[in-house]
Amino acid sequence: MEEYDVPSAASILASVKEQEARFERLTRALEEERRNVSLQLERGSLPSDRLVGGTTGGSKQPLAWQQMVMQEQSPSNQTSLAMMQEPQEVVEETVTIEEDPGTPTSHVSVVTSDDGTTRRTETKDNVTNMKVTKVVKTITRRTFKPVILTQSKPSTPAPPSTPTPSETKPVTKMVKTVTTRTVRQVPLGPDGLPLPEGSSPLGSYTDSIDRRYMKNGERFITPQATSTLTRSYNNYSDSYNDTPDSQFRHYALHDGYGDVPDNYGSLSRGVNYRPYRPYMPTGGYRPENSYTLPIRKDDYGHVAQPQVPMGSSTVDLNRSQPERFQPEPYGLEDDRRSLGPDDEEPYDLEPDYSTANRRTLPGRTIREPLRNGPRMRGYEDPIEAELIDERHPYIHGMYPAPLAQPERGSLASLDRMGGRRSPSIDSIRKDPRWRDPDLPEVIAMLGHPIDPVKSNAAAYLQHLCYENDKIKKDVRQLKGIPVLVGLLDHPKAEVHRKACGALRNISYGKDHDNKVAIKSCDGIPALIRLLRKTSDMEVRELITGTLWNLSSYEPLKMVIINHGLQTMTNEVIIPHSGWEQEPNEDSKPRDAEWTTVFKNTSGCLRNVSSDGAEARRRLRECEGLVDALLHALQSAVGKKDMDNKSVENCVCIMRNLSYHVHKEVPGAEKFLDPSALQGPGSAGTQRKKNDDAGCFGGKKAKEEWFNQGRKNGEHDKNYDTLDLPKRTEPTKGFELLYQPEVVRLYLSLLTESQNYNTLEAAAGALQNLSAGQWTWSNYIRATVRKEKGLPILVELLRSDSDKVVRAVAIALRNLSIDRRNKDLIGSYAMRDLVSNLPSGQQRPAKNLEEDTVVAILNTIHEIITDSSENARSLITAQAIDKLVAINRTSQSARETKAASHVLQTVWSYKDLRNGLTKDGWNKTHFQPIAAGTPKGSKSCKPGYDDTTLPLMEKNQGNRVCSGGDLIPMDELGPDGYSTIDQRDKDSKYKSSDGSSDLQEREPLKNDTNRKHYIRSNRPTVSLVDACDVKPQPVDSWV
């Protein structure tokens, strides 16, 4: 889905209705259940007692219960569920017993044990329980869990109740942890709770439950959940009793959780409260992001991108991005609020259910859909206040008590089940005895035999880890990561989905140990396996998001390539790029779809493509990859849709793969340009002449621009003639990287894209391709000229983005290896190059980074080498002032050195000296500042080789290898592409310089339109596309 399906309000409504219907059914089922329960309670009172008593006894009991259940509820296959519930009912009974500290045996710990070793754990629990003052209700439920386990997992041996020794061991461990924590109940809550619902005798009922689970999987708690919760409670108290209506409403409010509140209750609820919990620093809370309803994701992507700068420098932004990936619908409202009104997230939240629910509320109805955003807010605020009030009591007073976390839903549900209702629900809610599970418990629950428990635990983990490095670390240290990885192979979608979500969050961040931990337990192959297996978009997004995160750590890049390159290419890149290996004639060429999966995968490949020569080789040789990427980019250009992240990623991969093609590609030797041996700088002229002799006869007519600009006719005959190699068969694979055809693609991107990263990468690709001395780079350099790429590049020298300017400057330098290009660039680019230089005291209009300034200086040097004509235009461009100033005053040794080289070269043209002296310069200005500054001394060496070589090669050593997290950007470019500096918004466009340029250069005039285009956000070109020049409020004519 390239676009995104936004659920329309209508669809929401429909789904709400469906839910309503389901709820009605449920309520009916509940009633029935109650009746059953009361029956069973009568019978079951004995068993419950036993349970409390001893471990062995407890284990046997479940069986008894099962039998009973079977008898009564046998009809559906879901018997297991039914059984489960029954026990719970019993539990409730025990609840009445409640406060005996000693009696309740089971713990959370038990639950965690999962293995089905239930009984044992319980006993131990007893011990531990002794310590804990209030255990009661949940505990009783736990005892029943074993039963559940057995049933839910068919695979588990029929008598799960008998614990194998091995199983018990883990359990004991668990117990220990538990004891220290004192918190028992919470964990129990989730397990026990789910069961009750499932227990309803009606077949249909169970079905619906299942479905509901699924839903949970998709979106946990919709943002509203919190708000709705409060409200629902109210309903409760009022009409709790059974008017189906009220119940229904309650459910609806909970969203997917609705019926499940009991089971999952603790988890979900916990989530809601999170912010207030000690675990979570408020900042960490933005699970919202996760809201991701699958549908929304696309939007997400779009939204997220602008916020995520490539550089890791801005922590917040970066952070938010990765997390954004999370599809988890966790959304806590609270978190979202913390984000502030500006955040897009509220929108995302909005999607379906929330609005739908709201709509169902009486009185809100129709209007809501109209103004979702605002509406929501209004809504939330009061609610929030409410919640806070309620919470405060525990937070402050009760919190110390381990059990403090309130479990509202579950209590309520209990009451319901028991047919007994506490007088004041509010009081229950505030009951401090309930709490969230702590981390070890959650991790233990990952191994719980009941799938929903696993998936909820994983989802909860994901939530906990969100933006919380401490928790991620804890999870790692508690050995949670291998368990999560293990869950990736779980057959149930909701389980592997949640596990994947948790892994994605864990894999995000600066703490590479987490990534390594995922890798060390074979998480990467597991992810790839799942990618191959699943067709669930959401899961795929999670997988690829995780891989993207992992790919930011250097040592993992090769691992990812080894395990996943071909799979990612085949499963994602190729299908989503629209490229077809063997297009048949009837099928129309497809466009690329910018799905989140594609974005993530391309981001991952982008990262791994920077790993070095071997990585590049692997990617180049990966079947279909280059073809698909090119196709995707071409389709982006065709659709004029080039500002998105996917395009950026693709271009970056292409750039990276273009790096050193002339050295690394198989068979490259054959294409080596013999003249290169002479040394690039000096040989330039002759070589060009040779090369240029050839057959592009009609070129000149096309090149008015250049013809007009040419100052002298010396190269008239030779320039621009180049034999492109004849092709016998269609090129494919990596050869596509350096075919002259790609030039047009990159130039289109350079012309049309507004995305600095894309611009930089496209310029970087040209830079890479035009580097080196082999036949193809000759072609590329000539093709850029023929495709009128030079003015496009020159134009971009005025870009506001530092790194774009840098990439373009270096590209121009490489292009000027071509003699004809050198002349043209000298004539037309000099002014723009010079205007990017800082001028002495007043630091420039643009505050360019050192790297950029050095790149520009080197480019200037390259241009004026062997061309006194260009040196002359350098002087005309008033560059000497600036160069001298840099040479004397710059704080940067590299800048000083580079400027000094330029000055020396200028001075070396004797015919220019006269004019220079007239302008008041003398020899000393052009000499390196020898004494005094240490920096100057180095530059004395005349043979600075930087200048002669294409930058690419030299900088290789410079490559920055870092990549902070999720910085898909890669250094690959010869110059360590670094973070963006956009400080200079006012830039050159305003400078008088710029405008005069236009006037002076006739030929360039044609391009003025384009200039505007670049400056403003959008084209003014035609009515169809035109828009305001003002950047912010964008208008589009349609």
Partner: protein, 125 residues
């Protein structure tokens, strides 16, 4: 994802069907849009709530297809051919409107006056 076009919002929403006009090779609708979730909502002069990132009609060309169809300056576009426009980026909205292969677009729009009406009717409730 299935949807029932406009059903829940029908009370407040006006349907507008615009027949695109050929202008050269281009199909035009004759209005411009602003807004989107990637835009700064505070700069939207038409929204009541400055956090509303919806798509708004910012200009309507005189005598153009949009004006003929009844679209007005400041209308908020809720849907385009059934696609939700309340949570989309500017570009997504633009694309939905400018599909080359569609020469008719059906919009659901809302505007203050419509909402007003609804609000009143709700109060009477």
């Amino acid at each position: 994802m299935s949807f029932i076009p406009g059903q829940p919002v029908s009370a407040v929403v006006q349907r507008i069907e615009i027949h695109k006009l050929y202008e050269g090779d281009n199909l035009i609708l004759g209005f411009s849009i602003g807004g989107g979730i990637d835009q700064d909502p505070t700069q939207n002069p038409f929204s009541e709530d400055k956090t509303d990132k919806g798509i708004y009609v910012t200009r309507v060309s005189k005598g153009g297809p949009a004006e003929v169809a009844g679209l007005r300056l400041g209308d908020k576009i809720m849907q385009v051919n059934g696609w939700d426009m309340t949570m989309v980026t500017h570009d997504q909205a633009r694309k939905k409107l400018t599909k080359k292969n569609e020469d008719v677009v059906r919009l659901l729009v809302t505007r203050k006056s419509l909402e007003e009406t609804v609000r009143q009717s709700m109060m009477q409730h």
